[in-house]
């Protein structure tokens, strides 16, 4: 397996406030990888830095063997990596279909096939395609956000807490969909608060705390790791 995404020794944060103190992670082609850890451990900061929304003070982000460290978010998308932020990840006053159209904004062809793909993964969206996104439920809005990202035909998808604020059954559904998308060939890196569920479906996982990587292993091994269980999984 070849590495598709690698973040190397990342130091990053907001202005003077450094949140990440030298974190390295990688995602191999076809993998689904989860980052777990307590609040404030720097998970979202890491995602933002990888996606180009924050520039690291030090370190490098490499996508498909090329450095994307200083690229802007829209340039990174053109390199094949899409980021679904935790919040503000849709166009609320646009309909579901218009949201998907915006995902394909820079593309001139193939729109219909991509929309069909998204509707196949999320049949609910097909029913609601003419509805304003703002009127949908939280779970459905999350589907729109992921669908919008899929319209850009990514080879790597970054999901920042895709189940935040969702009821448990909806959260599970979204995670299952993530797995389904992964099985269709998209490598996924996600930050999740439902640590157990996320790790059990992930190829590998990282535990982040206080801006540093504490553990890394296969998803199953992390679930079985007693220390990780006690400290981070609430077992």
């Amino acid at each position: 397996m070849s590495t598709i995404l690698r973040a190397d020794n990342i130091y990053s944060g907001y202005g003077e406030l450094e949140i990440l103190h030298g974190v390295s992670i990688e995602v191999n082609e076809g993998e689904i990888v989860s980052i777990i850890g307590p609040n404030g451990s720097g998970k979202s900061t890491l995602m933002k830095t990888i996606a180009g929304h924050l520039e690291p003070n030090q370190g490098e982000v490499i996508l498909k063997k090329e450095s994307i460290t200083s690229l802007k978010p829209d340039q990174i998308i053109r390199q094949g990596m899409c980021y679904v932020p935790q919040e503000d990840n849709i166009f609320p006053s646009l309909t579901v279909r218009e949201n998907l159209e915006m995902g394909a904004f820079t593309r001139s062809d193939g729109f219909k096939e991509y929309v069909q793909d998204v509707f196949r993964i999320f049949p609910t969206l097909k029913e609601k395609r003419r509805q304003k996104t703002a009127t949908l439920s939280g779970g459905q809005q999350q589907m729109v956000a992921i669908g919008l990202a899929l319209m850009m035909d990514p080879s790597v998808l970054l999901l920042d807490e895709p189940t935040a604020g969702l009821a448990p059954n909806l959260a599970n559904m979204i995670l299952k969909k993530a797995k389904e998308i992964n099985e269709s060939g998209v490598s996924i890196l996600m930050v999740e608060q439902n640590a157990k569920e996320a790790l059990s479906m992930s190829d590998r996982g990282y535990v982040l705390a206080m801006g540093k990587k504490q553990y890394e292993d296969t998803g199953q091994a992390l679930l079985n790791n007693e220390e990780v269980g006690q400290l981070y999984l609430g077992a």
Partner: protein
Amino acid sequence: MLQLVIYGIVWGSILSLGGVGLSLTYGIMGFANFAHGDIMALGAYYALVLAAFSKHIGVPSFTFGPLSFGFPMLIAILGSMIMTAITAALIDKVLFKRLRKVQSIILLIAAVGVSFSLRNLLQFVWGPQPKYYFKGIQITRKIPGVAARIKPDEVFIIAISFLFALGVHFFLKYTKVGKAMRATSDNPSLASTVGINTEKIITWTWAIGGSLAAAGGIFAGIENRFITPPLGWNMLLPIFAAVILGGIGSPYGAMVGGLIIGLSEELSTAIIPTAYKPAVAFAIMIIMLLFRPRGLFGRG
């Protein structure tokens, strides 16, 4: 009473044209453009020049049926809309573009500056005296079946304003640029992330807002038959009231808001002295801000 409704619809149509542009600029760039009224006045003066120029180069100047104008004015309306669109986009390129990253209060003050400059420029070039679009007055005609009268020019104003509103609707709803415009207004950072060129969208916004403002300014001139430099500045308050009433940032809100403000101002003259008419817009604006600050169509 019905007569007041007619006046209200005419006045409301003109306010709506001004309101759509003001609301779009707010929605996309997040600042209240105090120069919008003066852009309307600029459009009205462009039309004055273009109409005279068209006559000068020999465009036949017979009038259309009962209307007070003919081809020269039509050419002037279209030409002025294009010229005002370009001017508005240029003002953005020269001034507002440099201020994209600053707080909106600074943009607002800059807009007040543009407003003063434009108004004084108009006064410098054309003087403070009224400039007449047409000589004489137009006789009102009875509307068949209704106990009210209307001037043929007013029918033109209402019809064309309605067509423009429809045009804006189709543009925003069905064209790629229109959808991208709404997307940018919704979530600018996501819009630029998905590859929408927000600078291009901003230029479009100024151009559309500018051209509709020109139409509004010219229609105000056609209705009054003359124009003066403060023409647009004087309309700014009711336009703001219309935009706030409709929900700032929502072009549909601005259209409906314009009509409501226009109708309320005119209908109020049935019970209170005409001199207090402008206060009605003020009152509606304050009531709206107190009880439903996001307006009728605004986002919560």
